[in-house]
């Protein structure tokens, strides 16, 4: 009896933990669900298209091949614009019908990965620009090199070169750049005037930034802050590090540049001028109350200067149309230095095994074309990858676009390199330690440098 009980208990434990050991499996069951639904959908679409792969037949009979584009633009302006673009594409030809399918941010890529692994991928997907090479190497994205060659000389020249570079793995191209972004400085002109600063002269260097920030601070009687002159926490610490010297943590040759003197200096500034000066807890409490909409701190006048994406201006427009503000390049670390900034972005890819690469390619070309990109930029204010589109006069009239365009040449677009996968995730906790005051910037960045060097040598 006793033994039986023991076995029973053991069995119970095993059953309890199975879901855990099969972590991957929990996910695969979960994705199995979505695959089935995906299968159903594609079954429907093949039904709709009549016989499989019979393009001409389908076109002749008026039936179109249904393609799915996957993204996370599920609401608001983004949803409207992507659906409009799909519609424009569908009206521009009669062979394909593109449908926009959205999944939550982050989920969409996991789902697409599982679908691709199962051989039933979406037809087009909007992906993270930092990791295109990973998907190229892992055979998750279709090699577009030949399709690009068919377009003739100079096709890729229409995109920003640093973005196009991110598409290449082992000499082959696995995507087209879609949008990018940068970070610019927003400042409250009325607050500047009130503090006796020139509203037309935003800070150019860190020293000026700190000096102005102090003048713009408004403290309550109980010691808390009614308004902060500058709040550095809107930018992820990694992005601050990249903006110090315009260098990613690693380069294509495997050189590691985590503890550069500029990065160290920038973090000394952030720590001493802000987190030590105000107190980490004070800043945390202050920022924990940041909300969106009306309570967005810049909109609400809680912060007089901050660094944010160009798109951020739509929030000011929507919630405080009267606000008198200006935009400028990010402050340079030193007098006369470059105004480096950081950006990410997204790419358009055709997952490996997509059923109709021709059609997917047509759509990829369509949404990265000048016309579509101007439309996209004019509606959602992203900085688009198509150079001509991004410089379109109708866009540069908008002040933030002008600033963003100016910032582009000194904006570093960082990559998650195959030689150092996850490097920024490794560095980030060390940057946190600096901000917490547990380590000096030099110590923390030296340790992070060693970690990333190790990572690079492990992946050689």
């Amino acid at each position: 009896m006793k033994r039986k009980k023991l076995i029973g208990l053991l069995l119970a434990t095993v059953l309890g933990i199975t879901s855990l050991a099969g972590c991957g499996n929990t996910n695969s069951t979960d994705t199995a669900g979505s695959e089935t639904s995906g299968a159903e959908e594609s079954a429907e679409s093949t039904d709709a298209a009549g016989t499989e792969g019979a393009d001409t037949e389908a076109a002749a009979s008026g039936e179109r091949i249904k393609l799915e584009v996957w993204d996370w633009w599920g609401d608001g302006q983004y949803k409207y614009v992507i659906e409009q673009l799909c519609q424009n594409f569908n009206e521009s030809q009669d062979k394909y019908e593109v449908v926009h399918v959205n999944y939550p941010w982050g989920d969409v890529w996991t789902k697409a990965l599982a679908a691709t692994a199962a051989g039933n991928p979406p037809d087009i997907i909007i992906q993270d620009i930092r990791t295109v090479t990973h998907r190229g190497q892992a055979n998750q994205a279709t090699d577009l090199t030949d399709l690009i060659a068919q377009e003739g000389e100079g096709f890729t020249d229409q995109f920003y070169p640093q973005l196009m570079d991110a598409m290449v793995y082992d000499g082959k191209v696995y995507g087209l750049p879609y949008v990018t972004d940068t970070r610019i400085l927003y400042y409250d002109k009325d607050a500047f005037a009130e503090a006796g600063l020139d509203p037309e002269a935003p800070p150019q260097t860190w020293d000026e930034l700190v000096e102005y920030a102090r003048k713009l601070d408004v403290q309550n009687e109980d010691g808390t802050y009614e308004r902060l002159g500058f709040y550095p926490g809107t930018l992820e610490w990694n992005a601050w590090a990249f903006s110090a010297d315009g260098k990613d943590y690693t380069d294509a040759e495997g050189n590691v540049t985590v503890n550069t003197p500029e990065k160290v200096e920038l973090f000394e500034n952030i720590y001493t001028d802000f987190y030590e000066y105000y107190g980490k807890k004070e800043l945390d409490s202050f920022s924990a109350e940041f909300g969106s909409g009306m309570t967005n701190p810049f909109v609400a006048g809680k912060v007089a200067m901050w660094v944010n994406t160009p798109t951020e201006f739509t929030k000011v427009r929507d919630f405080a149309p009267e606000k008198n503000y200006g935009v400028a390049l990010m402050p340079a670390l030193k007098e006369g230095g470059e105004h480096y900034s950081w950006g990410g972005g997204f790419s358009v890819e055709i997952p490996y095994g997509a059923k109709d690469v021709e059609g997917s390619w047509e759509f990829a070309k369509f949404i990265t074309s000048k016309e579509s990109q101007v439309y996209w930029a004019s509606q959602v204010y992203d900085t688009v990858a198509n150079i001509e589109a991004s410089q379109d006069p109708s866009l540069t009239e908008i002040p933030v676009f002008k600033a963003a365009l100016e910032a582009m040449p000194t904006t570093v677009v960082t990559l998650d390199r195959l030689t150092a996968p996850g490097a920024s995730d490794i560095v980030l906790p060390y940057l946190d330690e600096i901000i917490l005051g547990n380590k000096t910037p030099q110590e923390a960045l030296d340790e992070a440098q060693a970690q990333v060097e190790q990572l690079v040598s492990d992946n050689k």
């Binding site: 933990i17 855990l20 991957g24 892992a138 945390d284 924990a288 996850g422």
Partner: protein, 303 residues
């Protein structure tokens, strides 16, 4: 022990198998295959789409020697388990004891305390993010009333894990119900006899209630621990960047697995990590099982 089963025992055994059959069928038909597959994958460089080459123990070596955040994620998870399991057990027993009193209105309280268990997922985490806001959050506001300046919970690495533990303890309804029902089934004779002997409430609780419900405590600890080792969603949602911020204090084991598997496509490595976790949990369970002989009371007096 060697004697054949009586008719009744046979019948009971059949019923027993029938009762656990959903799990057995599910295990053999659904989870079993992928489970074995992930065991094999853990010895390969599987990335779901292009490679699956046998690489021997390399994943395991990487785990123990090379991965810069592996030990950190394991440490974070153990810290969480050690904090979460005992506190939710103690709180659940405490609540069950209170609710076991025959006072007017207990059903209402039972419902109230069980309510959080029904709620789940991201909505609850969002709710807690607001409760834990350093300035305007309900928790710090309440602390301020009694003169304590609360920490900035989710922004301070030393308070992030306690925050998640608090959230877990808040949703202990299931354990509480288990304790409640087992307390109800403790024979009244024992308490009567203790009353006659003049035992105090605490004495009765310690000498009667606790030993009588000890099998449930044991069960609760095992299941709770298994659950706590799997802490994942909370960290994904409540850490600012979804990767264990601040200062990697919410980088739990399963979050690390998830990251490896689905953002870096190292499915083989992630499987190896999952299997190592299974080994850890099994080992702890076995230790518990052995130790239980000394503190778990069984009805038949077999121990």
């Amino acid at each position: 022990m060697k004697r054949g089963m009586t008719k009744r025992e046979k019948k009971e055994a059949r019923a027993g198998w029938l009762f656990i059959s959903p799990w057995i069928i599910g295990f053999t038909c659904l989870t079993g295959g992928p489970l074995l597959f992930s065991l094999y994958a853990s010895f390969t460089n599987y990335n779901m789409t292009s490679r699956m080459d046998f690489i021997g123990l390399e994943n395991y070596i990487r785990m123990f020697v090379k991965d810069p955040v592996f030990w950190k994620s394991l440490g974070n998870t153990l810290y969480y388990v050690l904090l979460a399991v005992p506190s939710s057990c103690v709180c659940a027993i405490f609540l069950a004891t209170l609710l076991n009193r025959k006072v007017k209105g207990t059903p209402v309280f039972r419902m109230l305390f069980y309510l959080p268990t029904v709620l789940s997922g991201v909505a609850v985490y969002q709710l807690w993010i607001q409760l834990l806001a350093p300035q305007s959050g309900l928790i710090n506001s309440a602390l301020r009333l009694i003169g304590i300046e609360g920490p900035s919970w989710l922004a301070d690495p030393s308070w992030t894990k306690p925050s998640l533990v608090m959230m877990r303890v808040w949703a202990l309804g299931t354990s509480m119900l288990l304790y409640l029902s087992s307390m109800n089934s403790v024979s009244k004779d024992l308490y009567e006899a203790a009353d006659i002997d003049g035992a105090s409430f605490l004495q009765k609780f310690r000498k009667i209630t606790l030993p009588q419900i000890s099998p449930i405590i044991f069960f609760d600890i095992i299941t709770n621990m298994t659950g706590a080792f799997q802490v994942f969603q909370e960290a994904l949602v409540m850490s600012k960047n979804g990767k264990g911020d601040p200062a990697g204090s919410l980088l739990f084991y399963n979050l690390h697995i998830y990251d490896e598997a689905f953002t870096r496509y190292n499915m083989g490595y992630a499987s190896a990590m999952a299997w190592f976790l299974l080994v850890i949990v099994m080992a702890i369970t076995l230790i518990n099982l052995v130790a239980s002989k000394y503190w778990v009371h069984t009805e038949e007096g077999e121990t």
